[in-house]
């Protein structure tokens, strides 16, 4: 394993240096949250279609047992994160931006935490065939653990089809407060490297870069040390400057390779595949012990938490249980955020469960946002355009969105907005830009959907008109033919028959 000099890196356009707020949680220690009384496991914890429950109420389930199966190619299954009894399968609110409900499998745990006996490690994973590895990864319900929860199997398959040449492991974790990847890298660099090598095998690749942000010297040291155990010539460590949002998938690809992901595309379009370090560790765990994805590391932090830190949490554990184990809330706790302060979502309730996407929980005190200043008009200072890491013109987007030129938004690159929140931070007029762009994206989606529907209705209407016209023409021609050619007696006969027939069409 080698480390690459930083001067070879490409420079991210825009971006911000943000205060880290990581010291309070980044102690390097990972504590296990005990098994909760009740596990709430949503069938939709990942991007894509929801899984289908395969257990019934009353069933006894074991730790690691699949309880919902993937539905289609872009989906993944869910596994019981401890042993117990399924007491309900019902629709409950799930954490996420859309604030929707999804079917949740509720398990009353029995505290015995018995392991499902069908779980087996992968024999000699570094020599296994790619197909076998992909199948195992798919069955284990593994998703990207950086927060987007993209099904890992779908991503790997897509990468194979697209002919990717470089694997990138994302250990950048550039958003303030979050330190779960840092904790993982410090504690389990060997596992991460092992998982990386498995993925390289599964993909048949010869090149991998692990990007680690420069503010994580302990993680860097841990990797360097681990290289003696699980080192690999194909793997290179790269220090990434601490600039937000360097850890964005497309941003990291650009930093490391200089390749720009096309608008609306994926890194695989430019031959790169990005996985979070946590995902690699999950793959290693699967290979070594056969354990599917049933827990993840969550940073629990903020002024509102008594003992900030990193915790290994079983999926489905109610957030309230996690907070209680972290010493409970302090008197400063005012709001609860899932994810980071820049891209996270405010949660309304701590009864919501920890899901595969939940990398960080912040109980914020009042200090995080001191001023709620009223929005003022845009003064066209251009700061937002200067710091935009995808080189958009936020002020133009805002204008188009607010003043009814929705159709120009596509041309202005609305879909390329990664919602990093940098423009909000620098706007001297306190305009909620990112939120406007989220709204605009939704409005565009609805608009496109409605237009498609209208287009379909128009087509069907026109086909129908055509059909009726043809029918009317044929009838007119027939009448004309009868009038011209037939003798009067025949017409009289037909009329008489018609008159004699019962009224109505056919009934």
């Amino acid at each position: 394993m080698t480390s690459a000099p930083t001067e070879n890196l490409h420079r991210l356009p825009g971006g911000l240096r943000l205060p880290g707020f990581k010291a309070q949680s980044a102690t390097g220690e990972i504590r296990d949250v005990p098994i909760p009384k009740t596990l709430v496991l949503p069938v939709r914890q990942h991007a894509g279609s929801a899984a289908q429950p395969i257990v019934s109420v009353g069933d006894r389930v074991m730790r690691g047992q699949p309880i919902a199966r993937a539905e289609g190619d872009f989906s993944t299954g869910v596994h019981a994160s401890s042993s117990g009894t399924v007491v309900a399968i019902e629709s409950r609110p799930i954490p996420g931006r859309e604030a929707v409900e999804a079917a949740c499998i509720i398990i009353e745990t029995d505290g015995r935490d018995e392991l499902w006996d069908a779980l087996a490690p992968i024999a000699n994973p570094l020599a296994a065939t790619p197909d076998a590895l992909l199948e195992a990864i798919g069955k284990a319900g593994i998703v990207g653990l950086g927060g987007a929860a993209f099904p890992t199997l779908a991503k790997l398959r897509h990468a194979v089809d697209a002919g990717v040449d470089t694997l990138i492991l994302n250990g950048v974790e550039c958003e303030p407060y979050i330190s779960c990847d840092d904790a993982l890298m410090r504690n389990q660099p060997v596992e991460i490297l092992f998982g990386t090598r498995i993925m390289l095998t599964a993909l048949g690749l010869r090149q991998c870069a692990i990007g680690i942000e420069s503010d994580k010297p302990e993680a860097w040291a841990a990797f360097t040390e681990a290289a003696s155990i699980e080192g690999d010539d194909r793997v290179q460590l790269v220090a990434i400057p601490t600039v937000y949002p360097s850890g964005g998938e497309d941003q990291l690809v650009y930093l490391l390779t200089g390749r720009e992901v096309p608008s609306g595309g994926f890194p695989s379009d430019v031959g790169a595949l990005v996985h979070n370090v946590g995902t690699a560790a999950a793959v290693a765990d699967l290979a070594l012990t056969g354990t599917p994805l049933i827990s993840r590391i969550v940073t629990v932090t903020g002024e509102g938490i008594t003992k900030p830190g990193n915790y290994r949490v079983r999926l489905g554990t109610p957030i309230a249980d996690v907070a209680a184990f972290a010493g409970g809330y302090t008197e400063h706790a005012k709001r609860l955020i899932m994810g980071g302060p820049m891209t996270g979502v405010a949660l309304t309730d701590d009864a919501l469960p920890v899901t595969k996407a939940c990398n960080c929980l912040i109980a914020t005190g009042p200090a995080v946002r001191t001023s709620f200043e009223p929005e003022r008009p845009c003064i066209r200072c251009g700061e937002c355009a200067r710091i935009c890491p995808v080189r958009l013109q936020p002020q133009q987007l805002l204008r188009a969105h607010r003043y009814g030129a929705g159709d120009t938004l596509d041309g202005l690159g609305l879909i390329d907005c990664i919602e990093c929140g940098c423009c909000d931070l620098v706007c001297p007029s306190h305009i909620p830009l990112t939120q406007s762009f989220r709204d605009a994206k939704l409005a565009r989606r609805i608009d496109v959907y409605e237009r498609e529907r209208a287009e379909r209705a128009r087509e069907r209407f026109e086909r129908r008109q055509e059909r009726e016209q043809t029918r009317a023409d044929a009838q007119a021609a027939e009448t004309k033919r009868l009038k011209q050619g037939a003798n009067p007696d025949a017409i009289a006969e037909i009329l008489a028959r018609k008159r004699g027939a019962p009224d109505g069409d056919d009934d």
Binding site: R453, A457, F461, R464
Partner: protein, 173 residues
Amino acid sequence: MDIVSAIAVLAGIALVAGLALTLAARTLKRDADDVVERINAELPQTQCAQCSFPGCRPYAEAIAQGEVGINRCPPGGDATIAALARLLDRDIIALDASLPPPAPPGVAIIDEERCIGCARCLPACPVDAIVGAHQFMHTVVEDLCTGCELCIAPCPVDCIEMVATDDDSERAA
């Protein structure tokens, strides 16, 4: 000699101009069609005929001819009026007061218990969204239904009802 070349030049100019004018005339004609298409594209394609024209396209043609105002489309509501006003450079006006107010988007649902299979709703549907046949139960293909309500009146047993659709934001997601 001079006169020959002058005639030749003039004839040439006449030919070129004639060709250009013919082309222009054709293009302009296509433009008129374009206007109808562009108006039609702004209409919601419910084909509900509430505008008193037998569908969205006939209404678009009437607007293009200047026969009728841009404020006769209840399903489109204010959004459609605004879009048409922008397209045709007219003032934004209120929906024609003689028309019913815009209803929330919905789809027709046939109560299959009560349906007698008379097939009278089938020809009423402007987008062929109802499947069924004589003496067989009918049903509405929800995805294709535009919510025009034209099938409700012909039903002799009143087994068709309008149901509000889910929020489009959820459907589009």
